[in-house]
Symmetry: C2
Subunit: 108 residues, 2 copies
């Protein structure tokens, strides 16, 4: 047992990823950002689908195909299908941003 | 897009379950309790594993086999393997308790 909101770093060189569960086709991670964004020109292109919610802080995701931005405040969630290229455009520098991400293998 | 902390009922006859994602072997639900507990003598006996976190409020789970209680405060999570019989012993009457549950099929 641990707490999603415990042991939150306040400054990080890069985002911190903690695997909370890894079981077959499902993985749950806590991600903590302290103002980081993805490097310029970098896009995530994942083989798994990702359902992700911001539980503290705030963030902006950008999706390449539609050049669409999605702002995520506390409690807001989004589904990112596999291979939908996206990046973290912004996270608030005011406090740690805590994400909870559920990765899973899409079934054809 | 919706918000986990939006549209929280303050009084409910029974717990409210909202499916946020259902995709093959994974299902994500928001559960809201407003002081409810499981009926006397009732035990959940689920064919899926459940990873669950309390995001607001507080709750107590009881596990039948060890007659063990687990108190969950904001941010605390627990993994309930398939067919591990458990019940909700208590949720706080002071505010809505918001759970996020990830159900998945265990792989043998």
């Amino acid at each position: 047992m641990s707490n999603l909101f415990a042991d939150l770093p306040t400054t990080l060189v890069s985002e911190q990823f903690d695997v909370l569960l890894s079981a077959g086709s499902v993985r749950i991670e806590r991600i903590v950002s302290t103002g980081q964004s993805s490097p310029p020109g970098f896009w995530y292109d994942q083989s798994e689908a990702e359902w992700v919610v911001v539980l503290q802080g705030a963030a902006t995701l950008r999706f390449e195909s539609e050049d669409r931005q999605v702002e995520l405040k506390r409690g807001e969630h989004v589904l990112i299908p596999a291979h939908v290229r996206h990046r973290v455009e912004w996270t608030t520098p005011d406090e740690p941003t805590v994400w909870l991400a559920v990765f899973y293998v899409e079934q054809g």
